[in-house]
Amino acid sequence: MRGITKIFGPVVANNKVNLDIRRGEILSLLGENGSGKTTLMNMLSGIYFPDEGQIFVGDQEVTIRSPKDAFALGIGMIHQHFKLVDVLTATENIVLGLQEKGKLDLKAAAKKIQEICDRYGFVVDPNQKIYDMSVSQKQTVEIVKVLYRGADVLILDEPTAVLTPQETNRLFDVLRNMKADGKSIIIITHKLHEVMAISDRVAVLRKGEFIGDVATKDTDPQKLTDMMVGRSVSLNIDRPLVEHRPIRLEVKNLTVRNPDGVKTLDNVSFTACGGEILGIAGISGSGQKELLEAIAGLQHPLEGSHIIYYPPTADEPIAGQHVPVDKQGEELLGKDPLQIHKIGVSMAFVPEDRLGMGLVGSMGMIDNMMLKSYREGRGPIADRKAPKALAEQVRKELEVSTPSLTTPVRRLSGGNVQKVLVGREIASAPTVLMTAYAVRGLDINTSYTIYHLLNEQKEKGVAVIFVGEDLDVLLELCDRILVLCAGKVNGIVDGRNTTKEEVGLMMTNLRKEAQRV
């Protein structure tokens, strides 16, 4: 790729980028959010068309106008969000959209798929329906789909974000097999240790510009981070120890059924304490979302469940205006978010679905700041002065980059959206702060800003619940880690003396005693 430029309105997403991809190598593409990695790859795979620049395959200049052109050149991309039809089988999904002459021969296709799988070490049943598959199996289908179309260059956009450590290792084995077979692989990721583990070469983008590429063996995570950010950044996550840790929230026998009657949470019990970060680990869909929503009053747990809130005592720094309603603990079960707020519980919740639940995408920062507080003040007119001041403050303190305070937050980049959301929630002076995948999709710099904010809250005596997916972060940041497996608590471990392997195993294998309960 030579001199590639792509402009979206006033934003230059890629500016004269040159990038080489060699046969039989794994190249990592690194960069902060909004540095133009995905845009660049989308141009290679035919989704966008470059405004300037040329693309060469071999020595020949090519024009890629659509994904079809890209496939014809042997370039295939595996997107972050899978594009599969749930009710079809793996084979049907793989041949979908191919225009081959003659009759559709699913058996022959299945055979060819099996050959591809055997060659590279994939495990996939060609006749299994997609809805029966785990996330990692779906990803496998996506990769096979691209290979089936004869791709020699594979682009993977954050493939490990949804995988457990064990699944990641398996994926990497497959990628190495493909490399040995002469395929070229480009992998986009934020996780530096994975970059070090898998790639031969690393290319770094910053603010749409190509910064440079280095052989992986000649570099280390610190150097890569400095290249990405443009200055030196500390990669250590602090974990201050707070001595006074009163119980703030006690969850007892929490059971939640989804509308289909399946138990998404099964008899979950734990405590969350002020002055501590409680990590929640588990493969995605193990009940994390339901757990946080149940505490926030957005689920309807079954009878016998209890969520008891113990207000801070008057001598705690965060006591503030949160007048203890009942020293013995307040049952939150059966109350909706408004009622919970009314009895003086200050709960901050950063949900997983930022624009679909935590924020209103079409509104600007000011209107989003008042989402939970718009009822304040007398009279029918909503006060916009205080939210405006708060929006200014959040913008300044968290360095939110937005054209204006009224620009719809949907138009902001992922990192800025999250800063708006976290900023608002922390500004509500919470006693309990729950975050779901707080750093998902965020670059290193923004992620560290968020970790820092969470630690600040913890030191104030706030009970922080951190649902995470990156085990390295969970192990470095959290005081205790609760592992969920299929809606059950599979153990609570001390973050200071556990290992990644131990937690990883607990995520996938239900322990005997947990099964019995």
């Binding site: 309105g9 200049e61 014809a72 926030a296 639940m357 935590g358 029918p380 007119i381 909503a382």
Partner: protein
């Protein structure tokens, strides 16, 4: 796909990020001019008439005399009133296509009052009473589908549509009941001699009161949606039910309350149409305006001030079209075609405001 053509696509569509205000209005004006040009070609090719004469006749039909101007204004006000009523519902993404029914029930109760209380109550009291009960009737018609939606998640589009048919049948029944003269199958002009229950003249104008009521509603609704807490709730619910629940907003309450307001204003439009305009009731009292007003509300993006412009445009086109139909002996369909072309161009221009086209640069390498 063995060969890959080495050329850039001829046209690419790119979403615009922002567009300056003069530029966007320039595009809209260009669209209107283009529409006039296409319609002119159409007129000339079909009828061999001079398009300029036809356009002049359109203007004359809508604005030619003082009386015609006031009739245009009168009809703009009814359409605008319905559009203002629909705005909160559609902003909440509640597809209220039941304005027709809400207008009719408001009109029916108004007609009942005129017939039965016309002589016994003084005009101001009667007008006020009719306004109140038409609001109540419209609100009931709006609340019913809202309750079902909030409680059992029924589809509001079908529900409000069906409520239209119920209202039409009720109106037919009333017309049969109040038939005057017998056998005409119409109600006739109610209180033609006494004028009881008719809008009194305001500022010496028969339709002065219509204007005052509707403009007050327009300003009020603008402020309600933009500044009030309830307006904020409507915007949040319209964007995402999950976000609303997260913010502690009671969904069912907001849905029912908003539909009550929406139905109430549409009911009031029925009162306006019967007491302030037609002085009669028939199944044509709403006359499809409950649907036309949906266009008004959407095109204006729920900004009630822009709705004034759009209502005026639609009524202007309609008045002009019927004028050229009679003046040039064209049938109604020909004039509807012209209206259609103009609307198509205006709505189509929004595409060019949101997107821009990039044509292939003329340079070497382009083979196709």
């Amino acid at each position: 796909m063995s060969t890959v053509r080495h050329n850039e696509p001829l046209i690419r569509i790119v979403k615009r990020d922002t567009i300056s205000r003069p530029k966007s209005w320039g595009i809209r004006i260009a669209a209107v001019l283009l529409a006039l040009l296409i319609s002119g070609l159409f007129i000339y090719s079909v009828t061999s008439l001079n398009p300029a004469d036809v356009y002049k006749a359109m203007y004359e039909g809508a604005m030619g005399t003082t009386r015609r101007r006031w009739i245009t204004i009168r009809d703009v006000m009814v359409l605008l009133c319905i559009g203002v009523g629909l705005a909160p519902a559609f902003k909440m993404r509640f597809w209220n296509i039941g304005a027709e029914g809400q207008i009719l029930v408001g009109g029916c109760v108004t007609a009942w009052c005129m017939l039965n209380l016309g002589t016994s109550l003084p005009t101001p009291v009667l007008i006020l009473l009719m306004a109140v009960i038409s609001i109540v009737a419209g609100a009931v018609w709006g609340i019913l589908p809202a309750i079902f939606k909030a409680r059992w998640g029924t589809n509001e589009t079908l529900f409000t549509l069906m409520m239209n048919y119920v209202a039409i049948q009720i109106t037919s029944y009333c017309v049969a009941l109040w038939e005057n003269p017998a056998g005409s199958n119409t109600v006739g002009i109610i209180n033609q001699q006494t004028g009881a229950g008719w809008f009194p003249d305001l500022f010496g104008q028969a339709y002065g009161l219509n204007v005052v009521i509707v403009l007050a509603l327009t300003v009020g609704m603008f402020a309600y949606l933009k500044y009030s807490k309830q307006g904020y709730e409507i915007a949040v619910v319209g964007e995402s039910h999950n976000t609303a629940r997260y913010a502690g907003i009671k969904l069912s309450r907001v849905i029912i309350r908003t539909m009550a307001i929406s139905g109430a204003i549409c009911g009031l439009a029925g009162f306006l149409a019967v007491s302030g305009v037609d002085h009669t009731i028939s199944t044509n009292t709403a006359g499809g305006r409950g649907f036309t007003a949906i266009i008004v509300a959407w095109l204006a993006q729920f900004n009630t001030f822009i709705m004034v412009l759009i209502s005026f445009l639609l009524v202007f086109l309609q008045k002009g079209a019927s004028e050229i139909a009679s003046q040039f002996n064209l049938n109604d369909f020909a004039s509807d075609v012209i209206t259609g072309i103009i609307l198509f161009c205006i709505i189509g221009s929004e595409f060019f405001i949101n997107y821009k086209l990039i044509f292939r640069k003329k340079k070497g390498g382009a083979k196709a």
